[in-house]
C-alpha cells in the first residue's frame, strides 16, 4: 500500500505541473484548475488510505471546518478583495507549515538522537522559520491591503539595524537548535522571534509595494512547504513547494522590474522617505474639459487606448468603462486597454477586474506590447492611474520614480485624464503629463464622469 501511495504522488506531481502549464492561456486555464484539483484529491486520498492514519475523530472535523470556511471565502470575496484573500491564504499555508514543523520537532524528541539529526533538523528549522515569519508578514500585508492598518510605511530610527539584529538572533538560535535539538526550551523563543520578524519586515513597506510583497511572501510560503517535504522525506511536497516558490520568485521579479526597484530596495528601502520630500511643485496651469467636449473628441477618434489604474476599481467604474469601450467600438474606433504590470494591487489584478466587467481579454495589452502604439493613437484615456504614466520616469533623474518603465501615454495625439483633483498620487509625485498642452483633465469621479461621457455619445450612435 505504501508503494502505491508513492506512485499516486508521482501522478499528482505531474498533474500539478500540467495544471500550471495550462495557465499559459485563458483558453486552457480552466482545464489547468481542474488538473490541479484532481492532483490534490489523489494526493489526499492516497495519503489517507496509504498510511496507517489514526485519529480520524480529529482529522475529519478539521476537513469539514476547512471546507466550510473555504467555500464561502471563494464565492463571497469580491474581486477587488482578491489580494487580501491571497495574503490570507499565504498566511494560512505558512502557518500550517510552521505548526507541522513544530509538532514534528516535539514529537520526535524521544528519538532525537536518531531522528532529529543533521539535515532533518536543518529542514525543520527552515520550515518553521519561514513558516512563522510568512504567517505574521502575510497577516500584516493583508491588514494593509484591507486598510485596517495604515498604508503608509511605519518607520523608526535604526529600523534596518533592529530587523537585522533580530534576524541574526533567530538565525543563531536556529543553528543552535540544529546542533543541539534537545534544547526544547529554545524553540518557543525561536518561534517567537520568527513571528516578530515577520511583522517588523512588512510594516516599513508602503501600500504601493504590496504587489511585490505578496509575490515574495508567496515564494516564502512555497519554500516552507518545500522544507516540510525535506523534513518528511516527501518528494511531492518538495515538487509542489518548489513550483510555488519559483512562481512567487518570477512574479516578484516582474513586479520589481515594473517599478524599477530591487528586492533589497523594496524590503529595506522604506519608500516613505520619498513621499515626504516630493511636494515642491510650482503652480502650473492645466487644461480641463467637460464631459461633452471629451465625448466629441472621443467620438471622432479612430483609435483609443484606455489606461486603467487601481483608482478605477476604487470608483467601481469598471462596468461603465466597458460600456464606454463598447460604445466607442460601435462608433468605429479601435479600443484597446493598456495594462501596466503594477496597475492593481497584486500581479495581474487589473486584468481580473476588467475581465469581471466583461471586457474581452483580447482587448487587454501589456505594457511592452502596446507602448509602441501610443504614438499612432488618437486618444489615450487615463482613468485612475498616475505614476505609471508620468514621463518624468524617463528623463527626470531627480524624480523618485526615475527609471521605472511607464506607459508612453504622453506620445498619444491627445491625452485625457479622469481624476478627482490635482492631488498627487500614491507616491506623492507630481505628474508632468497633466501639464502638457495636449492633455485634457477631466475632473470628477471616474464612474460619474464616464457615465456622463456615455450620455453625450449615444445620440450619434443611433444616427451613424
Amino acid at each position: 500500500m505504501q508503494q502505491l501511495v508513492e506512485y499516486i504522488y508521482i501522478v499528482s506531481a505531474a498533474l500539478f505541473i500540467l495544471s500550471l502549464k495550462w495557465m499559459n492561456s485563458p483558453a486552457s486555464a480552466r482545464r489547468g484548475v481542474f488538473a490541479g484539483e484532481i492532483g490534490m484529491l489523489l494526493a489526499i486520498a492516497g495519503t489517507l488510505m496509504g498510511f496507517q492514519v489514526h485519529n480520524w475523530q480529529w482529522i475529519v472535523p478539521a476537513f469539514v471546518i476547512g471546507t466550510a470556511v473555504g467555500v464561502p471565502i471563494a464565492y463571497i470575496m469580491p474581486m477587488t478583495a482578491v489580494p487580501q484573500r491571497t495574503a490570507l491564504s499565504h498566511a494560512c499555508g505558512a502557518l500550517a507549515a510552521a505548526l507541522v514543523g513544530t509538532a514534528e520537532f516535539y514529537q520526535r524528541q524521544p528519538q532525537a538522537a536518531t531522528e532529529l539529526r543533521g539535515f532533518v533538523m536543518v529542514a525543520l528549522v527552515i520550515e518553521t522559520l519561514l513558516g512563522f515569519l510568512t504567517f505574521t508578514g502575510s497577516l500584516m500585508a493583508m491588514g494593509k491591503l484591507q486598510e485596517v492598518l495604515p498604508q503608509r510605511p511605519i518607520t523608526y530610527r535604526n529600523q534596518n539595524a533592529v530587523n537585522f539584529t533580530l534576524f541574526a538572533i533567530a538565525a543563531g538560535l536556529a543553528v543552535r537548535l540544529v546542533l543541539v535539538p534537545t534544547d526544547t526550551w529554545l524553540f518557543p523563543i525561536f518561534a517567537g522571534l520568527a513571528l516578530l520578524f515577520g511583522v517588523l519586515l512588512i510594516i516599513p513597506i508602503g501600500g504601493a509595494d504590496m504587489p511585490t510583497v505578496i509575490a515574495i511572501l508567496n515564494s516564502y510560503a512555497g519554500l516552507s512547504a518545500c522544507a516540510m517535504g525535506f523534513a518528511l522525506n516527501n518528494n511531492l511536497l518538495i515538487v509542489a513547494g518548489a513550483l510555488d516558490g519559483s512562481s512567487g520568485l518570477i512574479l516578484s521579479i516582474i513586479m520589481c522590474r515594473a517599478m524599477n526597484r530591487s528586492f533589497t530596495n523594496v524590503l529595506f528601502g522604506a519608500f516613505g522617505q520619498v513621499q515626504a520630500q516630493a511636494h515642491k511643485g510650482v503652480q502650473r496651469s492645466v487644461r480641463s474639459a467637460s464631459a461633452e467636449e471629451a465625448a466629441s473628441i472621443l467620438e471622432s477618434a479612430g483609435s483609443v487606448i484606455i489606461v486603467p489604474g487601481y483608482g478605477l476599481a476604487v470608483a467601481q467604474a469598471q462596468h461603465k468603462l466597458r460600456e464606454l469601450a463598447e460604445a466607442l467600438t460601435r462608433l468605429g474606433a479601435d479600443v484597446k486597454f493598456a495594462i501596466h504590470p503594477v496597475a492593481g494591487r497584486m500581479p495581474g489584478h487589473m486584468n481580473v477586474l476588467l475581465a469581471e466587467a466583461d471586457v474581452p481579454y483580447d482587448r487587454l495589452f501589456e505594457m511592452d506590447e502596446i507602448n509602441s502604439e501610443f504614438a499612432q493613437c488618437d486618444v489615450a484615456l487615463v482613468i485612475g492611474a498616475n505614476d505609471v504614466t508620468n514621463p518624468a520616469a524617463r528623463h527626470d533623474k531627480s524624480s523618485p520614480i526615475y527609471g521605472m518603465p511607464i506607459l508612453d501615454v504622453d506620445k498619444a495625439r491627445c491625452v485625457m485624464v479622469i481624476k478627482r483633483s490635482m492631488n498627487p498620487g500614491f507616491a506623492g509625485i507630481d505628474n508632468e503629463l497633466y501639464y502638457m498642452d495636449k492633455t485634457l483633465m477631466l475632473f470628477g469621479d471616474a464612474k460619474a464622469f464616464v457615465s456622463e461621457i456615455l450620455k453625450e455619445l449615444p445620440a450619434r450612435v443611433g444616427a451613424g
Binding site: 500539478f16 484548475v33 492532483g39 496507517q52 485519529n55 478539521a62 505548526l99 518538495i238 515538487v239 486584468n351
Partner: protein, 98 residues
Amino acid sequence: MGINLPLGLFVFMLATFVGLEIIRKVSPLLHTPLMSLTNAISAISVVGAIMVTGAQDATTLSKFLGIIAITAVVTNIVSGFLITDRMVKMFKKREAKK
C-alpha cells in the same frame, strides 16, 4: 524515517527549473489566478499535516497543532481552487456578435 537528502535536492532542483520555465510562459493576464492556483497547490502540505496528526503515537500537542494545520490548509485548498476557477471563468474573448 531516514532522509534521502541528495534525492530530495535533486527533485527540488528539477522542480524549480520546471517551475521557472512554465511560470515564465504564463500569460500576464492570468497572474492573479496563477498566484491563487499555486497557493492552492502548495497547500499539498496537507499531506504532512495528516501524517503528523494521524500518527499512531501522536502526542496531544501534535494532534492539536495538526488539526489547526489541516483546517488552515484545507481552507486554502478549497477556497484556492474555487476562486481560481471563478476568476478564469471570467476571461472571455470578444463574442463574434458584430
